[in-house]
Symmetry: none
């Protein structure tokens, strides 16, 4: 199987996207996922332009990666500055990575108009920087910025910049469609020329999505001979984004038989894509090719019938190949067979045609209509199933709660919650203060219940997410709250939906506590 | 200028997308926008499979369209049924459009496995149906379903289906990549063969986005000789969507000089794209090529400096050409030159080296560190600038508020808010009930202020977004609230950050009100 290298820039070019701002922990979690997926290079930041990135490299050097090489990214030396004293170049070396990517200009217009220097000085900037980094023992990737625009404007000069980089010892010449304006046929032709001339060096491709053709452009470049592809998970990046590795990898690997990542890892792709969306705190694109929740969702009755007969009728690949799955929308029959496995986990005696199955499907539809989504909240779903199957007894009954938020805060705590519950014949009333109303309510309900169910003390909430549904209703919009909990044995996710964020949080909290108590009963 | 035809299926294939459900009014508004944009065909529905669509055609026949032709879409006659008596074919005629699209099978496997009939009968189904519709005086578009997969499996049979359609008098043979699995080079080669053989008839292209290459595939097909392109606005459609006309039209028209719509209408494209998102009740994809809010947004400081010098540095087209505009984002990595333009909008006397500029930059960094992000919340940013420049007087002072949430709800309202404010020497205390605590607080503060500032009555909140930052803190995590407001003259976005969702909402609400009052002062 032919092999090409995957070069991920989710942390560097991806961070240029609007709304993206990674913490150091976020970055480390993304590196771990990318390394496990099996990408070859991880471009982790620009230590020259961002002091936080330099700090981060210090910390990240201690990570043990199984496969990927970390890349520090930066510019060539500045106009008229000796490379040894150039601040950016020094920061790149200070990052301490084995591999470095530097970008330089290929477009004559950019040299004279933006850098405002001579064409020859630009060549020296490229050559000096690469030669110096190679002397320091680094692997060097040269990013030829605006290569395609530059080639169209002045092919001789664009090729001369590559020649300079190759002569200086660059390990890879990466052709960048920086503005994302180049067409697939031009990408193919120009890449083919670069490969013919500099084929001894690895040729890379770096595309942007401004014409919505970045994936096709990357594929065409590989077909023209490029053997390194740069891109980002989910295609995140500035403006319209970078080339989307979640589409490029399966396109090349499943359709053209070109290995991008170890074949056994391909089924992890959907998980990695969702994890990066979560870490970057962006809604996952459910329409995304291969890794979106709708990518293998069938709606039309005719299409569903055909897919049931022969999946290849309306599916270009087997969804399992990328760790995704088929979904039949608006189809009770198909829906039931999917649900059945989950229902059987609670009660193995239930069959496809049991009346309970229909009841659960109906309840599920009603809840989904209200804005519930059980894909992430399987524990709340299990509780719904238990309630319908009679495999559930309420652990407590809420009599009332009152949550108060005060501005200005009192003693540094702006919120307090009073709660009154009944367990069996006993009534407990208590209260707690918190940092925000949900925190106060969370503390109060645990306090009230711990006397009856000491196991509650083991629950830790590890994540709390709020998403607004139907946001046209503004401050009266419906919100969906997801709570992740753990007791160090397992972790579980529960959901609540309401027009009121407190009420939605309450339902998710109660589900979290009840799920824990159900598990305790079974132990 | 070469001209090709644009065939829009937003109302038909677009309606297959998950979450899409148009009312008749929605459809009529979309048809009006598409006609004004200048598309050639509007595929409006499938009267055979959906009785509502048949009703709709009756109503829509009364519309006076300036340019576009309406299309009713449906299948060929069924296996073994006489075309005159086939229910679907009768519905197509009953729709009363001048033009009809029918789809038939090109893939031998689909004929034998899904239709479960003879290959010859499938040819007769295509021929009979087209011949009959032509006899009724209709323009007929023939959609060759699965054409590319069919061609790869059995080229002779796939071409025979086209020959049958052409012989029967079809006005257009549209080659469909129904499963979206075909690669650009194959689309090019196979389209070229079809054009060579059936070039006397218009050849169309219909792509799906399952490999994230539908736009490139459509462009390549046009380069191979296709002269009709089918797609949808914003690429909406089942699974990963249809080919996105909002990218294809400017790609072809601005980059290849091929006329798709009248040139003077191209600047309406972004408006049409946003209007369709609104009508379909989907969030607009801000990362979309050409028509997304981020398509010409620049964040990196270096990029911003270059774009200010020469827009072509990092923009592949002039954003105005498609009715979009350039945006410079505020962020850690943004240079001072970005900020300066914004600061100068408040006070033109401030320069790059003014001490106030440094103060603003420092304050911005501090706020970003706390979790604020001003990229989307430009109005809150303007208030920060005004406060530092002394161009702001407080409109009111909060003395205190108390928000109470009760479970169970009282009179159907579970939340109430009491608020006490000072305006000049006057103190106002009031209260309101709401659907959730934020809604109650929103109502209370407006009620308290309206007596002093009647203009507040014009503010409508149009969107409310909550995002949890650093969600590892679970229920005590920081949240960021964004509020979008409008007064029918302009719309603005404000931000609040706090560990308490009520407090964060409060800050965003206050900014929204103060921004409005600042604008009123200036009027």
């Amino acid at each position: 199987m032919k092999k090409i290298a995957i070069y991920d820039s989710t942390l560097r070019d991806g961070a240029q996207a609007q709304g993206i701002s990674y913490s150091v922990d976020d970055k480390i979690r993304i590196i771990e996922r990318l390394d496990a997926l099996g990408v070859d290079h991880i471009e982790a930041g620009n230590p020259g332009s961002n002091p936080k990135d330099l700090e981060f490299f210090t910390r990240v050097r201690e990570m043990k990666l199984s496969h990927a090489r970390l890349i520090a990214f930066g510019a060539t030396r500045k106009v008229g500055v000796a490379v040894e004293t150039d601040g950016n170049v020094r920061s790149l070396l200070a990052a301490g990575t084995d591999a470095i990517a530097i970008f330089g200009k290929s477009w004559d217009y950019q040299v004279t108009q933006i850098l405002r220097t001579e064409l020859d000085e630009n060549l020296r900037m490229i050559g000096d920087t690469i030669r110096y980094l190679k002397q320091q023992g680094k692997e060097v990737v040269y990013d030829a910025e605006h290569f395609f625009d530059g080639y169209k404007a002045n092919p001789d000069y664009a090729l001369a910049t590559l020649a300079e980089a190759a002569d200086a010892g660059a390990d890879c010449l990466c052709l960048c469609d920086t503005n994302g304006g180049t067409f697939p046929n031009d990408i193919f032709d120009i890449t083919q020329k670069a490969v013919a001339q500099f084929g001894k060096t690895t040729i890379g491709i770096h595309c942007h999505n401004d014409c919505e053709m970045a994936v096709a452009n990357s594929v065409m470049a590989v077909q023209a001979g490029a053997t390194q592809v740069q891109g980002t998970i989910n295609g995140i990046g500035e403006r319209c984004g970078n080339a989307n590795l979640c589409s490029i990898i399966p396109n090349l690997q499943l359709k053209l038989g070109i290995e991008c990542i170890p074949p056994q890892n391909l089924a992890d792709l959907t998980n990695v894509a969702r994890a990066v969306s979560d870490i970057a705190n962006m809604p996952h694109n459910e329409k995304a090719a291969y890794v979106g929740g709708d990518a293998f969702a069938h709606k039309g009755g005719m299409h569903i019938d055909a897919v049931v007969k022969q999946p290849a009728s309306y599916e270009h690949i087997d969804p399992e190949a990328v760790g995704n799955s088929r979904r039949m929308l608006m189809s009770e029959v198909a829906g039931r067979s999917t649900l059945l496995a989950r229902i059987k986990a609670v009660d193995p005696s239930i069959g496809k045609d049991s009346p309970e199955t229909k009841k659960i499907v109906d309840r599920l539809k009603q809840l989904e209509h209200e804005g519930y989504q059980f894909e992430a909240a399987e524990s709340s779903f299990e509780l719904v199933v238990r309630k319908i199957l009679g495999k559930y007894r309420p652990f407590f009954e809420l009599i009332e709660f009152k949550v108060m938020v005060n501005e200005p805060a009192v003693n540094g705590m702006n919120s307090s919650a009073m709660i009154k519950i009944r367990v069996g014949d006993e009534v407990e009333i208590t209260a707690a203060e918190g940092d925000g109303p949900v925190n106060a309510l969370d503390k109060a309900v645990r306090k009230a219940l711990e006397r009856f169910y000491p196991a509650i003390a083991e629950i830790r909430l590890t994540d709390y997410k709020v998403r607004v549904l139907d946001s046209k209703q503004a401050s009266a919009a419906k919100v969906r709250v997801l709570i992740e909990s753990t007791d160090h044995r397992e972790h579980w996710t529960t959901i609540g939906v309401s027009t009121d964020v407190i009420d939605a949080s309450w339902h998710a909290l109660v589900d979290s506590i009840e799920y824990k108590l159900v598990r305790e009963q079974e132990r």
